[in-house]
Amino acid sequence: MHLHRLEKIWLKFGISMLAVFLIVLGIMAFSMGMKPPSEHHHTVDPTKVAEMAPFDNPGLNQIGKNHYEAVMTAYAFGFEPAEPMQVPVGSKVDFIVTTSDVVHGFAIVGTNVNMMIVPGEISHISHTFDKPGEYLILCNEYCGTGHEYMATTIVVQ
């Protein structure tokens, strides 16, 4: 089919632009460790969350120098552990989260930590907290009448 000379140039530019975006995203995801959350598939029985490790003991565990694991459970309408966790500045935290009821969101405002928590599934994401502060963790997926109250914090000092 015949294309006007200028349309050919426009489409070449447009397709190249999209290809560059995809290449950048692909390289960052697959060789620089910046994939979307929950890369590995782990399941859990959603009706037995409170009895199954590690969710039978939600909270912070230190697993290395400046490296922590934060095991959390989302429920309508809060997060376990109820008390905000505290980590030192510069720590890398691996968040391991599931839900004991409906789908929830897990977002730490001001960071790229933003993932869905789906019953039967374990979600995971890691973040290094370079700046001190009290970070707001909120549910950003509608989960019922108390959705707007569903939040906690994590303190970095």
Partner: protein
């Protein structure tokens, strides 16, 4: 000039009026939502924010859109494929209307009774009343009947006009309803096979990851179901309205075929932040998503080319002289043009949303809400509003008066101003982290949340202006229905002489549908097998 068939006119008008009744009720809900979020009002105890939000989403995104689209498509199919609908087509049209309306009324009642505060995406394992899911199923099956009427008229025309190229409006209508038919299969399976039995209690659990995947298999092409009718207006009607010609018939048809191919195997870009889908398949569907941007890049070129060639034919010189020649004071051009213009930031936002890991910046924030308010609620809606100013006169034997035209321009500007404040604020506050689908809360006056408040106020100001815009369009419809009698031509563009002959392969439906199905199987088979095999199902919950 032959006037529009009277029986067909009733069918089209029924769809338009139902659509705008839905817009009005949905608009009231939207206004109340914006006022709650800005802290201006508290709802009385018996009305829930999330009930209103469910009604708003269903009425605006499913009912207003589908009814207007079916009505508009039937009008063009009637006009271009023989001047009137065949009896069977009209019967399909009415059967679809009845079934959809039964479903809509049932659904709205169940929602307002508080038994389905699950939002228009109704994510499991939140469990609504089975009558909500039945209502949705009725709307979807009704829309299938509506599609059959269009297919039937097209097939009969092709038989009676062997070897002839089908009229562009009808061709594009068939692509639109074909897209709808293929993509609604996903949500129909979710609702009928998974959710209704579970909601009635006949099965105890539901596979949540699978249900979400079936929904988004439908949910992305849904937005192209909204967009393609607007593109029909831009490609076929606008050239006639301005007095120009269609830039290229074959490129217009090719763009629609590319939409058929690439709008469906891409649902994962709405699920990028979820567990249960591998990074490989997420990225693959992101690549397919980027393919669907190409027909929109083609459309942008075609639109500007149509305008420039028209302007130059009227003596315009220089790179942008043609801009001044366009009929800015004609609402039948101005409203759809504003839709086109706003599609630039709308599409740019969409590319960002689909960008794999970058989605983390915007997922479930008000940025997403800002995005879909400029796509469907502006680009598409303003185009639909602009269509009314010739469609209602054409089908009712009336004329557009200068006064109605002026009121149309005012309504269009009102809408743009309101949306600028509301969606502009939503985009910014979304980047700052403010969550979507969330009622009023200050999060214990956390400093991040306090920062969001002024934007929520700006959203309420925009929302109020938009509500005025809703009232204005309703008034304008009343005005058009009472306009003086006369003849209004149904504007169908002619193709420019410079456009090449359209190749026949663009109408080899079997080939194109085959490729579309192959792409869907490629993008979904393995992930679906994993989901069915490896997930643990969940019981239902009523959390409202």
């Amino acid at each position: 000039m032959k006037s529009f068939d009277r029986s067909d006119s009733k069918l089209v008008l029924a769809h338009i009026l139902f659509a705008f009744a839905a817009l009005l009720i949905g608009g009231v809900a939207g206004l109340l939502q914006s006022m709650v979020k800005s802290g201006s009002i508290e709802l009385p105890a018996n009305i829930g924010y999330y009930e209103l939000l469910t009604a708003h989403g269903v009425l605006m995104a499913l009912i207003f859109t589908t009814y207007f689209i079916v009505g508009f498509l039937y009008s063009g199919v009637s006009h271009t494929l023989g001047g009137k609908l065949l009896p069977a087509s009209r019967k399909f049209g009415w059967a679809g209307y009845m079934l959809m309306s039964l479903g809509t009324v049932m659904g709205v009642i169940v929602i307002l009774l508080g038994k389905a505060s699950v939002l228009y995406t109704f994510y499991a394992p939140m469990k609504a009343s089975p009558w909500f899911y039945i209502a949705l199923a009725l709307v979807v099956v009704g829309s299938w009947l509506s599609g059959f009427g269009i297919f039937y008229q097209y097939v009969r025309w092709k038989r009676g006009n062997k070897g002839k190229l089908s009229p562009l409006f009808a061709y594009m209508s068939v692509v639109t309803m074909l897209l709808w038919q293929i993509c609604t299969i996903g949500v129909a399976i979710e609702v009928v096979v998974q959710l209704i039995p579970w909601s009635f209690g006949w099965v105890d659990t539901v596979n949540v990851v699978l249900s979400r995947t079936l929904f988004w298999y439908f949910g992305h092409p849904l937005v192209y179901f909204w967009l393609l009718p607007a593109y029909i207006c831009w490609y076929v009607v606008i050239p006639k309205v301005i007095g120009g010609k269609i830039f290229s018939d074959s490129l217009a048809r090719l763009s629609f075929m590319l939409f058929l191919l690439f709008s469906i195997p891409v649902g994962f870009h709405h699920q990028l932040m979820e567990p249960g889908i591998s990074p490989f398949w997420k990225y693959l569907q992101v690549v397919l998503t980027f393919m669907v941007i190409i027909p929109s890049l083609m459309t942008a070129f075609s639109m500007f080319a149509t305008f420039e060639l028209y302007g130059r034919s009227k003596g315009a010189k220089g790179t942008f002289g043609w801009v001044k020649k366009l009929p800015w004071k004609d609402v039948r051009f101005f409203a759809p043009f504003m839709g086109m213009l706003i599609f630039i930031p709308a599409g740019a936002g969409g590319i960002i949303n689909a960008s794999n890991q970058m989605n983390a910046v915007v997922h479930n924030t008000l940025w997403v809400t800002g995005h879909f308010h400029i796509t469907v609620a502006t680009s598409v809606a303003l185009t639909f509003f602009g269509i009314l100013y010739w469609l209602i006169p054409a089908i009712t034997g009336r004329v557009l008066t200068p006064r109605m035209n002026k009121l149309g321009i005012i309504q269009t500007i009102t809408w743009c101003v309101g949306m600028f404040f509301m969606s502009g604020a939503m985009h910014i506050v979304g980047l700052l982290g403010s969550p979507r689908r969330t009622a009023y809360n200050s999060y214990n006056d956390h400093p991040d949340a306090v920062l969001w408040m002024p934007y929520h106020v700006a959203m309420a100001i925009g929302g109020t202006i938009l509500f005025i815009g809703v009232i204005l369009i309703i008034c304008n419809i009343v005005g058009l229905l009472r306009a003086p009698r006369g003849e209004t031509e149904y504007p169908i563009g002619e193709v420019s002489e410079a456009s090449e002959k359209t190749p026949a392969f663009l109408e080899r439906w079997g080939v194109w549908i085959g490729i579309a199905v192959a792409l869907i199987l490629f993008a979904y088979t393995i992930p679906l097998i994993d989901m069915i095999r490896d997930t643990v199902p969940s019981p239902g919950y009523v959390t409202w």
